[in-house]
Amino acid sequence: MKDKKEWLSEDYAQAKVRYSERRYPFKTLSDIPVDAIYTEDDLAQFDAEQDLGYPGEYPYTRGVQTSMYRGKLWTMRMFAGFGTAEQTNVRFKKLLEAGQTGLSTAFDLPTLMGYDADHPFSQGEVGKCGVAVSSLADMELLFEGINPEEVTTSMTINSPANAIWAMYLVMAEKKGADLKKLGGTIQNDILKEFIAQKEYIFPPEPSVKLVIDTFEWGPKAVPKWNFVSVSGYHIREAGSTAVQELAFTLADGLHYVRRALERGLDIDEFAPRISFFFNLHNDFFEEIAKLRAARRIWARQMREVYGAKNPKSWMLRTHAQTAGVSLTAQQAQVNLARVAIQALAGVLGGTNSLHTDAYDEALALPSEEAATLALRTQQVIAYETGVANTIDPLAGSYFLESLTNQMEKQCMDYFGQIDALGGVEKAIDLGFFAQEIGDASYQQQREIDSKERLVVGVNAFETEAATVPIELVDPKVAEVQKARLAKVRAERNELEARKALKQLEEAAKKGLNTMPAFMDCARAYCTLGEQMDILREVYGVYEEPVYI
């Protein structure tokens, strides 16, 4: 048989003379060139035992569980949150009734930035892009009628993660739950905030210290909880390529590992509870390759470089979400198709949990109808398409394995660059990530503007769009929230609250683990703003250098 080079230079070259190639760029969204064909010549160095293994086996390229979706389907976990705690509680219960298998909480911006609803910076933002939680009282309402031992809950919270996690745990405690049985995730990934999403409060060093407090406290107190979800999602949303998303996310994860080891923690105690969160964008094969490469790189790093012995420390377990940034306001219904294909990539890539975006998210928060359709999309993939019948069905594909290898290689190149700059925190200081992501997102936009890349409904096939019904958040939410906050402050035991806040200040000043103090603050109904103000005093606040 001819080899690939011969075939391309003879047969394919002749075919091109007769039918010239389309003008479409034959490269992935990450700019990796894509050949006309892949053959075994592309996998000359490939070793199935070393590079793939079986599912549930090192290096986990084929998935972290042995039975994967034949045993248990991925968790269908839809992110929800808006308005008041009562409103979101109603949405949570509806999602559970509709067959969702895990909860995922979106907080509003004041909560994400550690401000109470009555702070001047909160004006206009309360309950807008998530639910407002200013104290334990809100957390209690949010999970009213939901048994925390029966449902796993994910919370997208970063800078104030310790405080919000403590509120959740105290809420569960008061319901009589055993913390040892609670499952869930806090995002708690501050590095990607500096790199991409920008919801930081304190400078990088004390911010990472707060994260490592959860690494130390979590495995003993709440052993089934994922106390970090190292997130590439937001890096991609900020405009990065898939390779940058992969590399920066894993570099962040390894940075936490190093910091935890510096504190003297046992890698095999904390590493099994590190989880991940990746984006699912439009380039189908690239996204599948990204998830497979991520598992392989993490396993190799944890075992070969960091010396972890427990196989659970080697496993990269991940949540994935379809790409909000890929959704268009034009012909918004077309987003249903994008989301379905992106979700399929997540499943073929072996994600452990999945959120599918609602088609109206480029216009507003999802309506209930749109959120239900998004969940139904996952159910169609799970129950109708047959793709979950066999594990890692694309393994061995010449193209997919080459792409997986390429992504691993390019990721390792980025690790080298970040190390050369002095590590992740230093690279943040130097604006390395901002520059890399800024360049990538600008290039992508230029390709769309010049029609080198086509986006249906945006720069091709444009038609007058049908309007999409949307729901708006009630402006009275802020008033309800402020009134509840005033009531909490008036009715709590003020002495207890002051004492708990003092304890938090002491812990922060002395460099002690802050989690016990956060638990006491939650029990005493200290507000989120009060707790974060203390840390703002002790740690200072961060302002990023401005780059365009």
């Binding site: 933002e125 999403q197 919801e199 306001a329 216009l363 365009i548």
Partner: protein, 134 residues
Amino acid sequence: MDTRLRILIAKPGLDGHDRGAKVIARALRDAGMEVIYTGLRQTSDMIVNAAIQEDVDAVGLSILSGAHMHYFEEVLAGLKGRNAEDILLFGGGIIPEQDIEKLKALGVGAIFTPGASTQDVITYLKANVHHGKD
């Protein structure tokens, strides 16, 4: 005299999603405009002050958090209060159609939603901004 358009791109409030703002800032700069980008977490007062101090022709607000009504109204009032209503206020982000209508009725210029091309923004500004110094 320099006749290049001067544009302030601003991120009001707590929202940290800055991909759109930065892409637009770069595109306008590449189109020959002078662009000032405020960075994150600006109050309406800070934005109005920057607009006046920098003597810009237009201000573009980027908001993806849902707080657009609040900030457009405040910045508009701030510009009026400083007799600077000749500065065109436009914007972009996750902004529902019915709110776009309301904003336009208040005197806000074009609002660009996800999927808008940078060329649309450039064309719009060239057609609608009246250079203050001419």
